[in-house]
Structure formats: C-alpha cells, structure tokens
Symmetry: C2
Subunit: 761 residues, 2 copies
C-alpha cells in the first residue's frame, strides 16, 4: 500500500477474498464503514476501495502477495492472538512512529468492522498460521486402568474355557472362509464343528457318563467365545450340540441318552431341531404336524398334513442332518394330546434321504449361509414307540396317554421351559458380536483423522463429540448387558421349579434386549467406519447379516416382550391378589408414598452433579418407572375389560404399553446387576471406569425415557437438560479409555481380523 | 357328579386343570372357600374336594368327560355369555326344580370365587366355544380411495418416463441375478446398463446436440424407478451417466462435451468419478493427488504422492472404466492452486490398463456387488492440457492459472455445487427402496396370521397394534418424504445462483433424512416379516445391504447434517446481522411473542381431538422447534466463544445440538411440503387418506421429540400422552388402507419379486 498503515487492512481483505466468507452486501457494508472514517484521507480511502471492488476482484497473485505481507505479523507460537493484533503489528512494521491516537482509532475501527461483519477473529487468524492446537486436537487415548484386570473381571471363572476356545482359533484351519459359494462355506463350517467336537467342546453340557462334562456354564461360554469368530459356526454348533442334543437330554429319558448323546457330542450323528412350521413360527402351540399312534404295531406315524405345515428354517436339515427331534401333535385313537417330541430319522449314515422324507433347501439367506437350513415334509413316516421323547408324557403299555402334567398346554410350556438355555446362548452370542463391532469402530475412530481446526492438522474422529455420542453409550451398554447376562446364566444354572416362570421371562426379555442392542450397535459402528465399514474385509457385513435373524429366531423379540409383560402382570397379580380397583388403588398410593421424596420440587429440579452421578438416584428412577408403568398398564387393561371389551382386544389395544412394561423391567434388572458388579469389584482402576460406564448407561437410558419422566412430573425440564449435558460429558470422559475398554474384551486379533484396525498401513 | 347341581363347578375345575392357570395356593383358596359354604352338604364338599386334590389330579379322560358335559351349556352364538352363566345352565340341565334361593347362592358364590382367583370370566368361556370373533379378528383391508388416482398424484408429470422404465423391466433379460459370484453379477449389471443406454435412457440429462434429451428431471425419475429393480444397476447407471457424464457436463466446456458426451451416453466410453482418497473421504478439500503442469510440453502429470492418497471406492474402476474424472491439486511452478478436475485415461478400448495406472479391486462389499468399485494409483501419468475440465479454472496460453473465482476454496465448493444432483438422485433412490420394503412387509402382514383369541381363528399380524406401530409411521413418512423430494428436485431444476447455498444444504439434508429413513424402514420391515424376511428370495437382504452405504456415500450423513446446521446458522446471521447478545435477545423475544398464544395453559394442555388433528397446530409446533433450537444453538456457541474457547472446540462441543438444528429444519420442510401437496390435491379420496398420513407423520414426529416440547413447556404431559394415543389410533385407522397405499406406489410385481407376497401359496 502507498500508506503502509493501510497494510493493517490486509488480513481482513485477504480472508474476504480468499475464503469468500463475505457476501456482496457485506463488502458494501465494509466500504461504507471505511467511507465514514474521517481520519482516513481521500487517497487512503480510494486505495482501500480498490481492494474491495467486487467488479474488479484482485488477481490470485495479488492475494498471494498479501498473504506474504500478513505472515510477517503472525506469531505461530501464540495461540491467543487475534486478527486485529496482527493487523496492528502490520501497521507498525513499516511505520514505527505512527502516533498512538491514530493507531488506537485504527485498532478500534478494525475491531468494530470485524464484529459487524460477523467474523470470528480468533478463528480467522488461523488462515495465516502454520500450526494450530485445540482442546479437540490434543485429546488422546490414555488408560486409567489395567486392561488385564478388567478382562479377568469379565471372564471370571470361565477364563480357562474361554482361553481354550481362543487357542483353537489359532489353528490354520480356522482362517476365515472368503468364498461366496454356499457349498464351500457349509463344508468349512462343518469341518470347524468337527474340530471342536474332537476337542471335546460339543459334549460339554452333557452328563459325564455320556461323554460330556456336565458343565452347562462352560457350554454358554463356548458359544459366546465362538461368536468372536464366525457366526455360522456358532449357529451350526448350537443347532447340533444345543438344540438337537439338549432336546434329547431335556425331553428324553435315560434310554435316549444312552442311545444318542455320545454320537451327538462327537458329531457322528448330526441332527436337527424341527419345531417351526411355515404357518406356525411364534404360535408353536398350534403346530399341525401329527404323530399318530398305532397300538398294534407300537409305532407312530409322522405326517405333514398340508404344505404350510412343513417344518421350515430347520438348521442342519438341508445338508448334514441324519435325525431330527420333531414336534408334532400326538394323536391316539383320534384324540389330540397336544404337541410332543419324537426322534425321526431323515437320512441314513451315507447321507441318503430316507423314504417318506422330502427335504428342500431354504436357499440363500441374508447371513448365516454356512448353516444348511432346510424344509422338511413327512409323508406317513413310521417310527418305533421308543422314539417318543418321553420325559413329560408317554404312551403306556395299554396304549394310553400318560403324563404327570394333565394340561396339554402346561406340559408343552414345561417342555419349552427346559429348552430356555437357547434363550441364554443367543443373547450372549449377540453381545460378543456387539463387542467385536465396538472394538473395530472405536479403534478405527481413534486412528482415523478427518477435518481439523483451520490451519491445524486433522483430528481423530473419535474426538468429535457426535462420534462419541454415537459409540460411547453402546460401549457402556455392552458392559451393562455383559453382567446382566452373567446374572441370567447364574439364575438358570441354579434354577428351582418355583422360579421357572420368572427365569423364563427374564431369559426371554434379555434375549430381546441383547439382540436388539446388537442390531443397533453393529449398525452404528458400521456407519461410524464410513466406506471402510462397507467393505466385507472389515467384517461389518458378516456381523450385521449373521445376527440379523437373532431378533427373530429363538422367539421373535416383539412376541417375547409381550410374554415378559404378561409375566410381569401375573407377578403383579400374585403380589396384590386380583387386579381389582381397590388393590390397584392401594398399589398406586403405595408407589406414590415411596416416591414422595422424589416428587418434591427440589428433587424434580435437582441438577447437582453429585446427585446426577448417584447410583441411588439412578436405581430409584428405574424402579419408579418399572412399577409405575406396570401399574398403569394393569389399570388400563382392567378399565378396557370393565368397559366390556374382549380380553384379546384389550391386550391388543395396550400392546404398545405392554412392550414398555417389559422394557422398563429389563432396564431395571440390567442396572441393578451392573451396580452389584461394581460393588463387588476389588480392583480400584477397574471399579472407577466401570463406575463411569454405569453412570453413562444409567443416564443415557433415563435420557431415552426423558419424555416419560417429564410426563410423570418425576423430573422437570431443567433436570432432563442437565442429564443430557451429563451424558455428553461422560461420553467425552470415557473416550479417553475407550480403546483400552475394547481391548479388555480381549477379542483375538485373528478373529477381529478387520484390516482397518489390525493391519499396519 | 352325584349331586347334579355340582356340575356347575365343572367349568371352573376344567380350566383350573386344563390350562393350569391356578397355582397350588389358589387351589387351596378354592378349597377353603367351598368349605366355608354352609348350604353345601359334607358329601357335596367331599365330592368337590376330590376334584381339586393336587395330590390326586384327575386323569386326562376324566377332564375330557367334563368338557363334554360343559359344552352342553355353552351357546356358541352368544358372545356375551359368562363362565357363570354356563355354570348356572349346567346346574339347571339335570335339575330343573332346584329352588331359586339355592341357585342364587350358587351363582354368587361362583362369581366371587372366580373373582378371588383372578379368572376373567368373559375370557375363560372361550375354552368351550367353537368360534370366537373379536374386534381385532374382524378388521380387514378396505380401500377408501382409488389406488390409480393416488398413483397419478405420486407420478405426476413423470408418469410417461416412469412407465417407460417399467416396461423395460418386463424384458426377459431383466430377470434378477441369483448367482453369488461377483463376476457373473457385474457382467449382468453391465449388460442391463447397455440395454438402458440403447433405449436412450443414459443420455437423458445431456444436451440434445450431444445425443441427449436435456431432461434432468426425467433422469432423476429414471434413477428412482430403476431402484425398484436392482440397486447395483442403479449405482452403476449413476456412476456412468451421472457422476462420470455429469462431471464432464458440469465441470468441462464445449470441447469436452463434443469429444465425450455422446460416447458416455451410449456407454461406448465407460468412465469413473475419482474423487475420494483413502485418507480423505469427507474432507475432500484436502485431497493429495497432484496434477503438475509443464508449460513446455503443455501437459499435466497426475501422481499419487503416497499410498493413502490413492483413489478408493471408485465405481466402474475395477473392471470396466476406460477414463476417469480425477480430482487433484493443480500445481504450477511449485504453487498449489487447489483441487481441480482432469480427465485421465485408465484403460484402452480393449480394456487393458494403461501404463502408470495401477488398479486394485475393492473386493467383496456388504452390498452393491454388481458394481466394480476399485482403487486407483497414478504414477506420473501424463495427460494433455485439454484434459483439464476448465469451466471454473484453466491454464492460459502463458501457462498461468486463471479463474473467474479467485478463492481456491470457493472455486472448489462451486465445482462441488454443480454436482449436487447426486444428492438428489440418492435420496430418491433410497425412498424407492423404503417403498419396496413397505410393500412387502405390509402385504405380508395383511396375509400372515398368528395367534388369536382363545377358541377363535388366528388373526392377520397387521391387526396387532404393535405391528401397526412398527409399520404405519414409516408408511406415512415415506409419503411425506416423497413430496419433499419432489420439492427439492424442483428447487434444483429452477435454481438461481443466489439460492445455491440454500439448495445445497436442503439437498444435503434431505439426502441424510431420506437415507436414514430407508435404513430404519427396511430394518423394521425385515423384522416384521420374521424368518421369511431373512430369506434372500424375499429381497430384504438386497434392499438392506445395497442401501447400507447410502448413509455414507455422496457425503457421510453426520457430516452433511453438520453442514446443514452451519448453513442454518449463517442464514440466522444473514437475517439478524451478527450473532451478538442484543440481536439474539431480540430474536428470542420475538419468538416468545409469536408463541405466546401457544404457551398459555390452555394451549399446552389442549388435548381436544380437533386441535391435535389441526395442521396449523402441527406447523406451528414444527416451526417453533426449528427456530428455538437454532437460536439456542447460536446462543450456546456464542457463549462458548465468548468464554475464550477456540471456535473449532466450540462447534465440537455443540455438535450434538447442531445435528438437532438440521433435523428440526428438515422436519419442518417435509411437513410443509406434505401440507402443500394435500391442499392442491383435487381427488377427494386421495386427499382424505393423505390427510391421515399427514397427521400421522406430524404427530409421530412430535411424539419422537416429546421430551424437547415438554422441556420447553410448549406442551404438558397430558398433551404428549394424548398425542401418543392419537398416534396409536391413526395407526389403527390407516391399517385399513395400508395395502392399497402400498399398491399406489405401483411397484412392478416382477421387481418386488418376494414370493411371500407375490406367489400364490
């Protein structure tokens, strides 16, 4: 510039043109402002105007010259410098004697100008800086606990079994199958199962006298650990040793154990669990396949009465199964004795399909294509009497039906109850998959850099608050569910007859809760890995598609949640007698009393940090919700029934409400078990980080249910807002430990496999 | 019974044993109650006790005998009959003269007994009935509008183009590819593209003088309609004719059009759009590939400086592409002139990869395996000067850089702006997929029956309230998004320079909104179809996996939502000058004034049906949220900046809030456009059902945001609860029209394909 003082305008002009942040109107504003300054001469003004003439923009090389001039005034090491500070230095460089008054005017004018143009001075300065650090840029992974100690807590007494399985994964045979050919994949999965059987893992749950270890707990741990590897393997393994083998063990008697269990455990006798029919998947009480008894020949004739009564989706059926546990209505002398279970051979040992059996392949599926699901039709297939699995019902020597349980319904549900183990294996397998997805996405988020402060280097995407918000709550939830599933497993292992209904509901509910969580976690993790997440090599395709059916099989989740809700309603009835107006009223009054301290203005508006972090507050909020929702559902159904509605209609109208009954119950159980775990954790480092995860699980669940708490007046807006902020803050704090937390899952790198995190670049 | 009067107890005993609804304690209760009745003799009591002795349960044949006796008292045609009515009839059958007093006692005793045992008399009766109808059972599909008329409204002016594409689908060549072999699939997709090109569809958007139709609107309709068929086809088609062709048309000049467009449109010249690099996917401004100009030879040398700067995920690259539009930093005399676009040959016409080019296959992906995505490395590849796409920047005859846009940033974003069409094609393609998923799931839900009232036949699962809740809001949302995308398309087609930033933000936002909606819709629809939904033949696998990357490509959704939010903030600034305390305060006061009528107790508690159904209420609620969230985000960021935080940190802290700014803006736009559509719909039947869908979209969106409205005091709990009920009711009402509503999408059956709905059983 002719007048060197005017160089102080260059930073402003530079960013105006270079980044085009200003509109034409704003350029005009700038011009008018300059025009109004009487301490500038006409020549000064004209020179300045020439630089901001939208009709005559500066050339590129001119802009670059400006930058070189400006750079002289910038201090790379001073992060607090403003654009106006630089401007002032520029004015001084070639003009050390300018009197102070003029400089002051200049300084204030420039400041005003920037403000009125909406330029953020502290941000704009970075256009001229070589480097730029921010809080966001500097944040890095730093473990505050010992990873191995947390792994010990997670694995608990099952460490040995878990490590045994992991060691098997190191065998070269366990390399992932990459072929998209279904036949190749099925062959590989069968081979894997054979290796596991050979290692004795298949028979783990069976009695010692039949080749097993009598260790159901270990069986679940095996299922879970296998889920770090291939899900088709898990399901094939589960069908053979769980569904097929355990149906014999749970529904049969000694003669069946002797005859079959050893061969099942060694995989010499591959078999199926043939319950589901095309027309009856959820409503299995209404299965239509028949097994008709003939006392003369002492045989049952198994038959598929029509096409839609065929057995469908049966694992092990399309390719390998030689026998099947078939669920069919038992008919004696024309009378229907409800659904019972029978062992029916379907292939001979050379794998030839037997007479009367028709098998179709279910064909390609979204996932689990290493499992040979099939369709089975029976055309008057005759089996000997001893093939009836007769623990709960039998045909006596006179050809009469006999059962210690007189009700067909009750007997059938008792039979199903013995099979509840499947509803523990599946959510545990699902959780392992959620952990794998988190391990990949969180480690990738820690490495992957994209965008950054102006003039600064790019930032790990896990430092972005939204990225944390997307992943940290799922990380917390996966820890929460881990301990809850340990609890369900223990309840199942030490079950007593009287607790069975409760345990069944608990397992059904946790199956839904965990598999839905996996669905959501894997989805979010895939998206968090962008295009890399879409490549099959990074495993989200398999994790997502293989577990997609987890929300459907072993009981459709929505149907299960209805079941849980109905169980809660009957618990309610047990506790308060019949569901009449008086007892409901008493219950509600009782509820109100216990929560009175929480419904005063101080509590509903309490946003104190310590209060929000207090596990007692969390537990009370969860319990309050659980009880209140249950009571209101009961009231509502009663009201609908009283109005003369059919109970089927009444329950249908309240269905959405009932799902929430189940949800609130499960959330309370999960919270409670997580808290118990923390209380009994000795290692301080682990305890502290588990405590943070607990808080995040608790508060993000409350946040999800915020509208309900607000409706109830249990919290006011200030509190739910404070909780939202607390969730953000917890996500930020946990991010520091996020990578160590997924390392604590201790998933073998060969299983994780995803090159985005396991390969050196 | 010895005393025939006692037969009246049989119904109660029967259901106690048959369904095992009573616990042992309750059996004891029953025994005690009987014991306390002085009008029963000792012999009577003993006989009754013998029937409810838990130590000696009745035999099965005995229970069946009871049922036969009971059936005589049941009137199959009287739905109002209670268990006690039947009991009384049984007492009378063999005992017509029993004196009234005794009968009365008996009647009241049985009533009391049932109540104290928690038996719902009107439900239990159905154990003895042959048939049983309920409201839930009777509800069926019944169209209240003409399907063809609604289709006309949806297709609008594009009906001809849409029908032309649908006709092509009927060619035998368009049968779906079932092979899991990637090579076979890619070959098929290329063949399909060639057929479409031959039919003239590829060049639709290009100028007439270069073989096209100059019809961009038709191009979008083609993309959308193709999405009913195969998604790999859509993307391959989009890469070739959209990304590759349109990059030439948008970034090049006449000489390029002449040289390339005809061959691109006929697919003689397959090409790629090579922007994304491994290290830069979202932050494309920082791409690292270089194009260095040499004035002596008048050439550019294109180079990949290091491995992670390779071009990745490039469609058409792995197999078919012969040229690519490559985005690279232009370097002249050592100076960086920002990212520009260049045409670089990568294969010759015989498909041999050229010198200096290395291509790798991206390998198997979650979906879209019919598209040959590849990785490209350039090793000093020399191209002639005319290969620079020089609409926005060029090298002049002196070898100097020239551009009408002086800022590198601005120029790059102007270039990207011309490519915004991709962000319209993708959400429209996504919506077509959501429609397909809904068509399958809703038609299946209408046919599939499972469970039912006791003694009644099974019920279509779409009659279950929860099933409606899962699907109806997505049906409403797909209609809402349809009209919003029509609006975005029109805005784009008639764009003016000054609106470009707004249109870009709108397109970016709707891309995110629509693709996330498709992700969720397809997921819910898959689950709603249970095991059948998991079979590939029913297409959810393809619909889900092919669109999985839609939330990532053409801009990661989360990044796009940030962009939308920043655009909204700058609109805010434009409207109110700088973001200072005074203008913010004024804005908020202004807001408060306009909403004063809505924040009085009457309005916040108004649960009147007409009010909840009023589009004015909906629009105000959406607008209030949009403005309030924007203002609070602006205030928050200002506060953070004022506290001395770096703007990068400040925006990071508010990131979660900013996503909501974008969300609220999009929801308002969608609502507004839906409402405009309804106002201009002449056909009364269509208008009425669209009105219902509009209400459901409006109220279910408010329900989703309920906690926010409650926090703001804009609504009270009574109102949000009433809205929840209104949503349930709307789901129930719309279910009747649900099947006709998906028929109105008019998706060809051959495309829908799913045997669960298209095949006769």
């Amino acid at each position: 510039m002719a007048n060197p003082l005017l160089n102080s305008f260059l930073p402003l002009f530079y960013i105006s043109w270079f980044d085009d942040v200003l509109t034409e109107t704003e350029m005009k504003t700038m011009k008018d402002a300059i025009d109004s300054q009487d301490w500038l001469t006409k020549t000064d003004k004209d020179e300045l105007f020439s630089k901001i003439d939208v009709e005559n923009p500066p050339s590129r090389s001119q802009i670059n010259e400006w930058k070189e001039i400006i750079s002289k005034g910038v201090d790379d090491n001073n992060d607090d410098e403003l654009l106006t500070d630089v401007a002032l230095k520029l004015a001084l460089v070639e003009n050390p004697e300018t009197d102070n008054e003029e400089l002051k005017k200049l300084y204030f004018f420039l400041q005003e100008l920037e403000k009125s143009l909406g330029i953020i001075s502290s941000e704009a300065i970075f256009a001229f800086k070589e480097k730029h650090d921010t809080i966001t840029s500097k944040y890095v992974t730093e473990a505050t606990f010992e990873v191995e100690k947390l792994t010990e807590i997670l694995d608990g007494s099952q460490a040995e079994t878990i490590n045994k399985v992991k060691k098997i994964f190191t065998l070269p045979a366990f390399k992932y199958e990459e072929s998209t050919d279904t036949e190749v994949y099925r062959e590989k999965v069968l081979k894997w199962c054979k290796i596991l059987a050979k290692e004795g893992l298949g028979a783990t749950a069976y009695p010692k006298e039949h080749g097993g270890e009598d260790d159901v707990e270990a069986y679940f741990s095996i299922m879970e650990t296998l889920s770090y590897h291939d899900l088709s393997l898990v399901i094939k393994f589960g069908v053979q040793f769980g569904l097929w083998g355990m149906s014999i063990q749970s529904l049969g008697t000694e003669k069946h154990y002797k005859k079959y269990l050893k061969d099942v455990g060694s995989l010499k006798l591959p078999g199926c669990f043939a319950m589901t029919e095309t027309n009856h998947g959820s409503n299995v009480k209404s299965l239509e396949t028949t097994a008709t008894y003939d006392h003369k020949t002492k045989t049952f004739t198994v038959n598929t009465p029509h096409k839609l009564a065929r057995k469908e989706y049966i694992g092990n059926a399309a390719r390998d199964g030689q026998m099947a546990t078939v669920f069919a209505k038992l008919i004696i002398d024309g009378k229907d004795h409800g659904v019972n279970a029978f062992i029916v051979p379907i292939r001979d040992s050379k794998n030839t399909i037997l007479d009367g059996i028709t098998i179709e392949d279910c064909g390609h599926k979204m996932g689990l294509n290493g499992v040979d699901n099939g369709i089975i039709y029976f055309k008057n297939v005759v089996i000997p009497k001893e093939n009836m699995l007769d623990r709960f019902a039998s045909v006596n020597s006179k050809g009469e039906f006999e059962s210690p349980i007189s009700s067909d319904n009750r007997r059938f549900f008792t039979m199903l109850g013995t099979l509840v183990g499947g509803r523990i294996g599946i959510p545990r397998s699902a959780l392992a998959v959620a952990k794998s997805a988190l391990a990949i996405a969180i480690r990738y988020g820690d490495q992957r850099r994209q965008f950054g402060p102006q003039g600064g280097s790019e930032v790990p995407i896990l430092n972005y608050r939204m990225h944390q918000r997307r992943l940290m709550p799922y990380l917390a939830k996966s820890y929460a569910i881990h301990f809850a599933l340990q609890y369900v497993t223990k309840r199942f292992l030490h079950r007593k007859e009287a607790e069975m209904q409760e345990i069944e509901a608990l397992a059904a509910g946790m199956k839904a809760y965990s598999t839905w969580n996996t669905r959501d976690t894997v989805q979010e993790c895939r998206e968090a890995c962008g295009g890399k997440g879409y490549l099959s090599e990074n495993r989200f395709g398999a994790l997502k598609n293989d577990t997609e059916v987890y929300t459907t099989f072993e009981g459709d989740n929505t149907v299960l949640m209805n079941l849980v809700a109905k169980n809660r309603l009957s618990e309610f009835r047990n506790q308060f007698g019949e569901m009449n107006a008086v007892s409901l009223f008493n219950y509600v009054v009782d509820q109100a009393k216990t929560s009175i301290t929480y419904k005063n203005p101080f509590a509903t508006r309490n946003t104190d940090e310590n209060h929000l972090a207090d596990p007692e507050f969390h537990l009370h909020a969860f319990q309050f919700r659980e009880k209140e929702i249950l009571a209101s559902a009961a009231k509502r159904i009663k009201k609908l029934l009283d109005s003369g509605l059919d109970s089927f209609d009444a329950f249908n109208i309240a269905q959405h409400h009932l799902i929430n009954v189940g949800q609130a119950y499960l959330e309370r159980v999960v919270l409670e078990q997580f808290q118990l775990q923390i209380e009994t954790t000795n290692d301080k480092g682990s305890q502290a980080i588990l405590g943070k995860l607990f808080q995040l699980y608790a508060l993000s669940t409350i946040e999800k249910n915020a509208s309900w708490y607000l409706e109830q007046g249990y919290m006011e807006g200030v509190k739910t807002k404070a909780i939202r902020k607390a969730v953000n803050q917890l996500c930020w704090e946990i991010r520091q430990n996020a990578v160590p937390l997924v390392h604590a899952f201790n998933i073998p790198e060969s299983c994780l496999s995803a090159p985005i995190v396991t390969k050196k670049k």
